[in-house]
C-alpha cells in the first residue's frame, strides 16, 4: 500500500530504465517547458489566463516573472518582437540604427568642421569638448549639433 514508488517501478521492467526517476533531478527549465507549455489544455473551473503563460514562455526565455521583474533582469525580448508587440514593428530596429548613425555622422562632421571654421588656436580643445558633450546629451538633444552648424 504505502510501498515507495521506486520499488513499484521495479516490478515493471518494460518501463523501468536506468535513468528513470529523473523527475527530482531534472532541469527546472525542462520541467517548466513541459509543465507550462505542453500537456493538454482543458478548461478548469478556475481559469487562469493561459495566454499569459504562453506569452512569457513563448520563446522559452524561461523566467516566468512579471513584466517589470523580467525587465529588471534584462529580459525584454517581447518589446522588440514584432510578433508579440504591436509597437515593435519590424522597421523599428532599422529606424533606431538610422538615427544612431545619423547622430554619429553629425558628431563627426561637427568635430571636423568646427575647428577649421573657428581657427587653429582652439584645435586641440574644441573637438574633445564637443565629443564629450555630444555623448552625454545624445539622447536628450540629439539635433543640437546639426542646428548649430
Amino acid at each position: 500500500m504505502t510501498e515507495p514508488v521506486p520499488s513499484n517501478l521495479g516490478s515493471f521492467p518494460s518501463r523501468a530504465s536506468p535513468s528513470y526517476g529523473q523527475g527530482s533531478s531534472a532541469n527546472l527549465a525542462d520541467i517548466l517547458e513541459r509543465v507550462l507549455d505542453k500537456g493538454i489544455v482543458i478548461a478548469g473551473d478556475i481559469q487562469i489566463n493561459l495566454l499569459d503563460i504562453e506569452l512569457l514562455t513563448i520563446k522559452l526565455r524561461l523566467l516566468v516573472a512579471s513584466v517589470d521583474k523580467a525587465k529588471e533582469m534584462g529580459i525584454d525580448w517581447w518589446e522588440h518582437d514584432p510578433a508579440l508587440s504591436s509597437h515593435a514593428d519590424g522597421g523599428r530596429e532599422l529606424a533606431e540604427e538610422n538615427r544612431r548613425l545619423r547622430e554619429e555622422i553629425a558628431g563627426l562632421r561637427d568635430a571636423q568642421a568646427l575647428p577649421s571654421a573657428e581657427g587653429p588656436a582652439e584645435k586641440p580643445e574644441r573637438p574633445k569638448k564637443r565629443a564629450s558633450t555630444a555623448k552625454s546629451t545624445r539622447a536628450g538633444n540629439r539635433r543640437t549639433p546639426r542646428t548649430e552648424r
Binding site: 510501498e3 514508488v5 520541467i31 500537456g39 493538454i40 489544455v41 482543458i42 473551473d45 487562469i48
Partner: protein, 271 residues
C-alpha cells in the same frame, strides 16, 4: 464555501494497482493524491486537493510570477505525472488546471472521454525523450596562427585579418555543428514514432555551456529506448563541436495532442 479545490495533474488509463501507486504519492503542498475515475473506471483523472486561497484566479496569477512558488508547484506536478507515467499511460495536463470539486472533474472526464481514450491508446507503450544539442564554439585561434602574417602587415590590417580568421573559423565550426546536429536528428528519428521541435532554450534557467541549437522531443516505444539513446549518442560522438543531452523518459507532454497543437482537445473536452 469550500476550503479546497481539485487540482488536476493528468488523465490516465487505470491498470490494476494504480490506486496503490497513487496512494503513496504526495502532490502539491504535500497533499495526498487520488484518482477520480469515470463510470467504467478505465480512465481516471489524477487529482489532489489544493487550498482554494492559493489557487483562486487572482492569487494564482500572482503566484505564477513567483519563481520559487512556481518551481515547487511545477516539480510537484511533474513528480506526480512522472510517477504515474512510470506505471501507465498518462496524458499530462498543463500546470494549474483547477476544478471546484471532484464532481466537476468527473463531468469533465465524461465529456472528454472519447478524445482522452483515443489519445491514450495512441500513446500507450511510448515515452517522450528530449534531445538537446549544444554548440560549443572552439576557443579563439591562438596568437601563433595570427602572428605569422602580422609581421609584414600594419597593426590595423593585422588586426582585421586576425578578426577575419576568427570569424571564419567560428562560422566553419558552426556549420560543422549544424551538420552534426542534423545527423543526430536523423539518427533519433529512425528510432522514434513522432517528434516535435521545441523552442531553443536560452535565458537564465537553461544550463550548461554552449549554445542550444536543437531542442527536440521524440516519442519512442518503450522497447526501443535503449536503441534510441545509443543511436543519438553514436551520432553525437562523430562531432567534436557539439554536445548532446538526452533527457527522459518523460510522460508524453509534447505529444498529448496531435500536431502538438495546444487547445486541440479542449473543444471536445469542455462541457
Amino acid at each position: 464555501m469550500t476550503a479546497t479545490v481539485s487540482y488536476l495533474y493528468g488523465v490516465s488509463a487505470v491498470p490494476g494497482g494504480s490506486y496503490d501507486v497513487v496512494a503513496a504519492l504526495r502532490g502539491i503542498a504535500d497533499a495526498p493524491v487520488r484518482l477520480v475515475p469515470d463510470e467504467d473506471a478505465n480512465l481516471a483523472a489524477i487529482v489532489s486537493s489544493v487550498p482554494a486561497d492559493d489557487f483562486d484566479e487572482a492569487p494564482l496569477a500572482a503566484h505564477l510570477e513567483d519563481l520559487d512558488w512556481l518551481e515547487a508547484v511545477a516539480r510537484a506536478h511533474h513528480r506526480v505525472v512522472d510517477a504515474m507515467a512510470a506505471r501507465t499511460t498518462v496524458l499530462p495536463l498543463r500546470l494549474a488546471t483547477i476544478y471546484r470539486d471532484d464532481d466537476r472533474v468527473r463531468a469533465m472526464i465524461r465529456a472528454g472521454h472519447r478524445a482522452f481514450a483515443q489519445r491514450l491508446a495512441h500513446l500507450a507503450g511510448h515515452m517522450e525523450w528530449g534531445v538537446k544539442v549544444y554548440f560549443d564554439p572552439p576557443s579563439a585561434p591562438t596568437a601563433s596562427t595570427a602572428a605569422a602574417p602580422a609581421a609584414e602587415l600594419s597593426p590595423g590590417r593585422a588586426y582585421l585579418r586576425s578578426r577575419h580568421q576568427e570569424r571564419d573559423s567560428r562560422q566553419d565550426a558552426y556549420r560543422a555543428a549544424e551538420q552534426a546536429a542534423r545527423r543526430v536528428e536523423a539518427a533519433a528519428r529512425t528510432q522514434a514514432v513522432e517528434h516535435v521541435r521545441h523552442r531553443l532554450q536560452q535565458g537564465p534557467l537553461s544550463h550548461g555551456s554552449g549554445e542550444n541549437i536543437v531542442n527536440n522531443a521524440y516519442l519512442v516505444a518503450d522497447g526501443q529506448a535503449e536503441d534510441f539513446r545509443d543511436a543519438v549518442q553514436l551520432a553525437a560522438e562523430q562531432s567534436e563541436t557539439i554536445r548532446v543531452e538526452i533527457t527522459g523518459p518523460w510522460a508524453p507532454y509534447s505529444f498529448v495532442s496531435r500536431q502538438n497543437e495546444p487547445g486541440e482537445m479542449s473543444e471536445e473536452a469542455i462541457t
